[in-house]
Symmetry: D4
Subunit: 216 residues, 8 copies
């Protein structure tokens, strides 16, 4: 288990992370933490390692690209003084190229994506114990599908940066691919991007395995 | 143009057709006809052939399979006394096999689909001037995708029945495929099934071309 | 077809144009473009000329007169950097003289209307490839009706300016008149101004004919 | 003044009369009587003839034609045991012929209109002290307008029946025509049928003049 | 009739006047003028003197005392540039002394009331053709009732100021008293202050009689 | 204290009693008992005599007269098997004569009131330990006010029946009169009938004094 | 793992189970399965044993006691034809004795509880592969607290019946007790009964451990 | 009775006090004073000592700790110019330590609590006639329960400060304990903190006994 007692983990990302979290900070009583994989990670950690007393904070914002993360990085990550940061970004960076092909001002190309992600890592790596980088994904098993194909390239960038900066990599695409051998994507998602609780559990389990979680 | 003056066309189907039409009958002032391809067909016909005085009625019901159409065929088609009937069904028959793989009681297999469709044609063909059969579609250009692959088989059944019974066939899948050479499916649909107005215009134009419509 | 590939068309006007478009800019996924003739123009162009990749933006504001357009011309037209601009204005300029006869401060007289319209053209003509000017209309076939009579004068002003500045003219009143030979105005409008989808299709077709659209 | 002390007046009609009256009976505290000319008639009578103690009941139903009135005549008029009955019907009978030209099953032609109106009078005349018949109207000053022209024919039928059966006639069309010499119809109505409070006051004053009302 | 053609009348007051008028100015299409006596005055004047072309504006604000009127007198009366101003104020000045006996900071005593009213008159009298002053009222026929008794004193102040400054006086209390000889107050008001449409008609008729209105 | 341990008290009446109690039975967790004097009686008894374990049930219905109570007496009182019943009725019986003077079918005259009240007592007196009868009231200190005057007669009937049948009388009018020596009615009620919490406390204290309650 | 491929598990209970599940059957797309431990069990099983293809159905009803379960057992359990049934009932049976001490008709005493539970088991055991019995719980660590003390007795009954009938026992109270050694109950529940997602994860993990679940 | 005529009492605290009071000041007509013990105190005082004419103002804010009270003390207490101030604070100071154990920045420890409370007293004591200090409470009879145990320490601090500064002490915990000998806490509260009207009556009676209230 990579987390030691009394630490704070900030999980940032887009609508996959957000899922109705409370503003301005997604932490606290009731449903403040939202309904995404973040609450599943928190519940599995709290019930399995109750002595860890880990604080988990959801800072996802629907619609964000890495360009948006950069704008709010100081207020939404650094000022919360985290010990660990997890990042799940890139889905909108790619999606806008497919759902809004004519509005190129909203596209974040691969080069900008990787450079900006590296800037975020650089701003943060000395301030925290570790950074966890999750790959964006597309719940389409056909790797030659144009959007899957491009998403894989963004995922490669994530893994490249994780290796370069010693971050913990989490390959969500691989774990969704594994699940899609058994069930069609349609059974857990309408748009191949936003999952139901089964899909969020896939993310939570990927994350926890990378963190050295042991079930008991 | 296959329609002669003073006729009534009933367009039946599932949520693609329905799109917030009025109950019990989708005809009349305001938005009674709904927001789907049906209103586009009506508007293009009324403005181009104002002398036709064609009545267009939307009888789509969200979620319907061909099994559901059969249950409401008497009240929702025959009792409206149409001169023409168009049918766009099959999407849910296929989709349930993918989004609800464990609830097999909701699946309508190809054999039941084609048999039931033929029953509806048989009930109706002597009562009307003609029947227009539209193929179900899946806005996925990869023909080896399992759901596209199965949808194509249902589309074949539609074309087979159109040929056998002398109905007017409308190959929606072909026209969506043509559009998808230029734009990604994501730009007109979230789930590759429910289109925006651009997608409904593709359906309306397919239908109208089959009906011998001439723009002016 | 007057539009060449990769251009942007901004369509501005009053509530006829607006029809629930998104703020601040009526372009994008879902129903951002609103439900007026603008979405019909966009859908007919996208499905017929998919290779054009034309961006269509709805900048209508309910209640606007030409006096209001002038106030927001910089932010709502010029700053969007369009290649083509279409204008449909004048209905409220005339209507206020009839529905609010005592509040003369809200009336825009013919002279002010034409002068302001010319100013908008002058501000814009050098910045764009072309301007499309649509006449205001009143769905009243009796040309001696006082409001129809006055609206015709505003329509003449539009046509005069189009000629003077080499803009593309669209005579909506003429095309509504043609339709009203077959159907009463009441069947497509409550107030002889705001049409249903059939009426918006009349506008869209007028516009497209003027733009050299060919159906296929 | 035709009303003597302690009587009950039931005013029936369509949406012009109804205007949010309470169900099942439009009489009582608060806004039970609705916001149409009925409340104005009641207020002018109560404040001018407080000793009359006249009960005024609103039984209008939005959308009704004379065909609909006949269906509810027993429950909504006779069973309320009125001393006086006023009828304002015919607008929808005519309007449906113009706004829904293809749905002829909703049209009430002049012959059916006059016959049914006479039946209602015949059912009622022996049970009450008097019947007040108001003409339907169309706030269009041009008598050659097709809908105005047809509405006038229905108004003639009302006046013919009033004369034949000794009912009190109220010529609303004439009084609206008078007002329209000074103001455009658009200033008091969106659709030339549903008036604002100024228009309802025209109806109330027509009614009261016919009833021998004296202002004080 | 005191009003000559083409004038503007601003009617100001408290919730009796306001009754859901539009902000910031209670004039215009639809229900902008609210539902109080103001709309009745406007409708009776428009329909009886259509050639007057009088503009009527509702500037009532719920809860206002004369102290509140003074604060908004410039923006809400003088800047609208009226030819005539009517004032109905004083009910809350008195009521607060009875419904909130312990919160004396909300009480406007008789002396302050009369002085402030006179200031408003002085600010205005040279700017307009005339001022119409309506007495506040309490729908309680027992003149020894403490609140009625005090209200009468405020009414006397209104009449005193009207006389001193040559304003048109309207004695609403007297006309309510007359009506209460025939009907109990409970039939037109819950709290003896806010009337239904019958009660607003009493106010409208009082006002119009003072203005020299002749019914026709 | 008239209540012995383990008993059930059903309190029935009109809107004064009801005040948003739960249906069908006003007893239980949360706000089931409503917000009227009933919850104050319950709270003062529970906190002062916790060992009594008295069940208090609110069965008021807004708008009820004694005529309405009779219709629901079996289901709403007898079938609940109470040990004690309290009745507060008569306000609407009187009020309708004042607020709806023309709708005499809604008036319950004094004779019918007293006879019906006696019937309810007779149905019940052998089934319960005791009946508590509260007088209706009007928060108008002037006894010559017509509605106060009539209400007093109904109150006399209540006291007469209490005496005749050995019920516990509660003179609410007397206790309101006492309070009104210090504060105006307007400070606790809008319509002199429906009190705020201060007014409900007056009722609760009257009731409790009659029941032999001792504060501690 | 006790579940073999292709089976159906029906999970029944009270509000702890229900948590906004869909009616009439809590199975299907979207949030039909609700937000309780049931969706967590389903997600952990689907993602860990994708080849099991287990159907999980939520049939909880808020407020139910074992007495209520018995009334709906045929329609809500047996007619769904399950292979496995889990039961979590008893919380309301006990709670009503504490929150509604005077309404003894709502109390389900220990004897009735155990007898009824045994009846449900007897009705079902031959129809299914197995029954899983979860103990009710109270998130109060002090075993001498009266409600905890009584809840433990109901839990003993559950374990007794599990042993007698060979059902799979799940001791939720024990697992909540374990968690409460680390965190106060207030951090996961407002009322010591309804948990947040952390608390539902405790239930889900207890259930899965009893079912032989192995994390991977 | 400690209150003399014509004084103002400001009651400040957290959600127990607040209970939907009006902003910015919880005083006035209707439900401005909220639904907590404050309205009960006001109603019992007004009806029992009508000649006192005591103003009672509710200034509770949901969620407040003593740290929050300090921030708003000037605007919410001193500027209202009270004669008496009552304080009920400390519940959230303790609760956050139990429901949010990891967010220590929200905890107000005993030392800070007592110091801040003393500051508030010091700011105020010379400005008013007296201060009434109510102990925070926890409706848990087991004194060894950790949260009860800690709450008792905060209650001791309140009593210590009351003694030191000559404030009127009100021991709410003692009075809740007394009630809990007869009824379980669950019957008047969901979370052992927020009471129903019975519980608020316990607080009101404790307060009034301390103030020398005599029932009559």
């Amino acid at each position: 288990m990579i987390f030691t007692p009394g630490k704070k983990l900030v999980m940032i990302g887009d609508s996959i992370t957000d899922y109705e979290r409370k503003r301005p900070v997604g932490e606290g009583l009731g449903e403040a933490i939202g309904h995404s994989y973040v609450v599943l990670v928190d519940a599995l950690l709290k019930t399995t390692y109750p002595d860890l007393r880990l604080r988990v904070v959801n800072m996802g914002n629907s619609g964000d690209t890495v360009r948006d993360l950069k704008k709010r990085w100081r207020s939404d990550v650094l000022e919360l003084d985290p010990d660990w940061v997890s990042i799940l970004i890139g889905i909108n960076d790619v999606w806008r190229q497919f759902d809004s092909p004519l509005r190129s001002e909203e596209h974040v190309c691969l080069e900008e994506y990787e450079e900006t992600l590296e800037q975020l890592i650089t701003f943060t790596e000395k301030e925290v114990e570790g950074i966890i980088l999750m790959t964006p994904y597309y719940m389409e098993p056909n790797r030659r599908d144009p959007m899957r194909n491009l998403m894989d390239k963004y995922g490669e960038a994530v893994k490249r940066q994780a290796k370069k900066h010693g971050c913990v990599p989490v390959d969500l695409q691989r774990d969704f691919d594994e699940y899609l051998k058994y069930y069609n994507a349609q059974s857990i998602t309408w748009d191949r991007l936003h999952p139901d609780t089964v899909g969020h559990m896939i993310i939570a389990k990927s994350f926890l395995r990378a963190a050295g979680f042991e079930w008991r």
